[in-house]
Amino acid sequence: YSTVHSLEPLPANGPDFGALGEEAEFVEVEPEAKQEILENKDVVVQHVHFDGLGRTKDDIIICEIGDVFKAKNLIEAIEAHVLAAALFNAPLLLGEDALPNGLDVTFEVTELRRLTGSYNTMVGNNEGSMVLGLKLPNLLGRAEKVTFQFSYGTKETSYGLSFFKPRPGNFERNFSVNVYKVTGQFPWSSLRETDRGVSAEYSFPVWKTSHTVKWDGVWRELGCLSRATSFAVRKESGHSLKSSLSHAMVIDSRNSSILPRRGALLKVNQLDAQPTEPPKRPLKILVLSNVYTQRGAQTYNPKIKGWMFYLGGPTSVRGFSMHSVGPQSEGDYLGGEAYWAGGLHLYTPLPFRPGQGGFGELFRTHFFLNAGNLCNLNYGEGPQAHIRKLAECIRWSYGAGIVLRLGNIARLELNYCVPMGVQPGDR
């Protein structure tokens, strides 16, 4: 019999609620009654049968399995079957027929259950959460997926519903629609935030790259965390609406997303966000008339104030407290309108290689240099002034530590950091 190792992992799909990348699975093919070395034998696939189909539609099967007919040898036939795993679990059985090198392929199929539940814990930047999920895979027979996710964490609580549909025959081309609500508390700014949003995204491959275009509409509500919140932050309380369009391009040739051994990841992201302004048309209403007048009352300009960038923390500029760099007022950090951040990291195996080949492989020593800056823009000054502003008073840090890889989902870092370029007000 032949065994097949490390098939290509499935293309990443679904909304980014933290869809955990499915690890490549080890697949074993059952030994046949006829023990033959089939591996490199030339074959012609004559028939393909499917046993056990229920709700899966025919056209998507033909798309996915069309490759099986083109298979020239056993390896290719088996690889073609992997694409179908999103629809059902499909062990491969082979039979022999008519032609001396003819092959009858029968897929004995178990469709995925209509409803599956999951319970995970997630770790993020110094926060943890527990995630309950409900998944309805292959909902209408063409690999559509509906996911409901509820996450309860130390900083954020959220729930969301998402609908995902790939294009039959080409799973890398897909779109999904999400509806979500996130509530979070941010002590570094003394802010409480509730976001309710709708988003739609469309992914498609172009040559070796993967592109995603996403529209996101969010209703954001900000509130003060306590009575001691600074007035600058209190002024941002209230409701606002943001509509944004983003495009991301990813080229990922790494062999693991947590501690890759080879390959490179390039991600280019652009976002255009509009604070939707209220319409300027005059409203047909009766105006309050008071005899005494107040000259020119100051009006609130709904500039995109609540949507700031933050800098600092264990994954941006290490050595600084979470989001605690930049403009602040009475101890609350306000964020900035522009930022840049960069890092240089070097990972090496542990010195003297303890536990080599086993437990020790999960650790790396880690040397890093992080830098970044955050500021508010003064639109009257022009881009030269902005670049100059971002280039002065750079915050940076360097240090070393140990990284531990936790499964394929997270990493634990213990670093000794030396923060430099600290400006007054940073923490």
Partner: protein
């Protein structure tokens, strides 16, 4: 005897320095009052509350700058307007503001005895329970007013669809509160009757005096002025509400008197109500 008087003076010094430390800083120049946008957004009930506070601060001779912000309701620590920002403290609603101002050493009701103070509190409760609730009812539970005025004004600073969502949310909240206090099933006519009764009580108490407690205005005068003046000068879908108030001539004279004395006169001169 000599030692006795020295001891008394020492006690007095201690008491006055204690009082000074409680009041801490004097009233700053940049004290600010926040309310919603005057022209397009603010509603009858909020305007009345804001005017009451402004009148009160005028009567105490404390300057305050009025700033209009669309999110004033959400900035307020209690969710109600107006609120004042004095130094680094934020205080909202007339009751707490009166207390805050008293702690700084200014008070309008110091001259009243206990009986009068209790009476003043009772009338303030009457205004809040009757007049303010009637205003809220008219704004949020009378379909004609809601459709023509309230809904559009409340959501005006926000883009679609947020303007509708927030207006419906607020309406649902107010209706729920009305049910809780037993006003859910009242008709508009019953509410107007209640307004009339309230005005009658106020008119009787005022009589021919210039202010409710004879010569000097108190926070009750500020509160009554805020509500009555706003009702009189606001155009709604119909005039029934302001007609109820106009029935009482001494109330009309009272409003005019306060307006002339505390707003027009001062507005021309040193502008104690400065607005930016």
């Amino acid at each position: 005897m000599w030692s006795g008087s020295w001891r008394v003076r020492f006690q007095e010094d201690k008491v006055s320095s204690f009082r000074k430390s409680k009041t801490a800083e004097p009233w700053p120049e940049n004290a600010t009052l926040y309310q919603q946008l005057k022209g397009e957004q603010i509603l009858l009930s909020d305007n009345a509350a804001s005017l009451a506070v402004q009148a009160f601060l005028q009567m105490c001779n404390l300057p305050v700058k009025v700033v209009c912000r669309a999110n004033a309701e959400y900035m307020s620590p209690s969710g109600k307007v107006p609120f004042i920002h004095v130094g680094n403290q934020v205080v909202s609603e007339l009751g707490p503001i009166v207390q805050f101002v008293k702690a700084k050493g200014h008070s309008l009701s110091d001259g009243l005895d206990e009986v009068q103070k209790a009476e003043m509190k009772a009338y303030m409760e009457l205004v809040n329970n009757m007049l303010l609730t009637a205003e809220l009812y008219l704004q949020w539970c009378d379909e004609a007013t809601v459709g023509e005025i309230t809904h559009a004004r409340y959501g005006s600073p926000y883009p679609w669809p947020l303007n509708h969502i927030l207006a419906y949310q607020k309406q649902w909240e107010v209706k729920r509160k009305m049910k809780a206090i037993g006003w859910g099933n009242k008709t508009l006519d019953q509410v107007l009757e209640d307004v009339d009764q309230c005005c009658q009580a106020l008119s009787q108490r005022l009589g021919t005096q210039p202010y409710f407690f004879n010569k000097q205005p108190t926070e009750l005068d500020a509160l009554v002025f805020g509500h009555l003046y706003t009702i009189l000068t606001t155009q709604l879908t119909n005039d029934e509400l302001s007609e109820k108030v106009k029935n009482y001539s001494n109330l009309l004279a009272f409003c005019r008197r306060i307006e002339q004395h505390y707003f027009e006169d001062r507005g021309k001169g040193s502008s104690s109500i400065r607005s930016s």
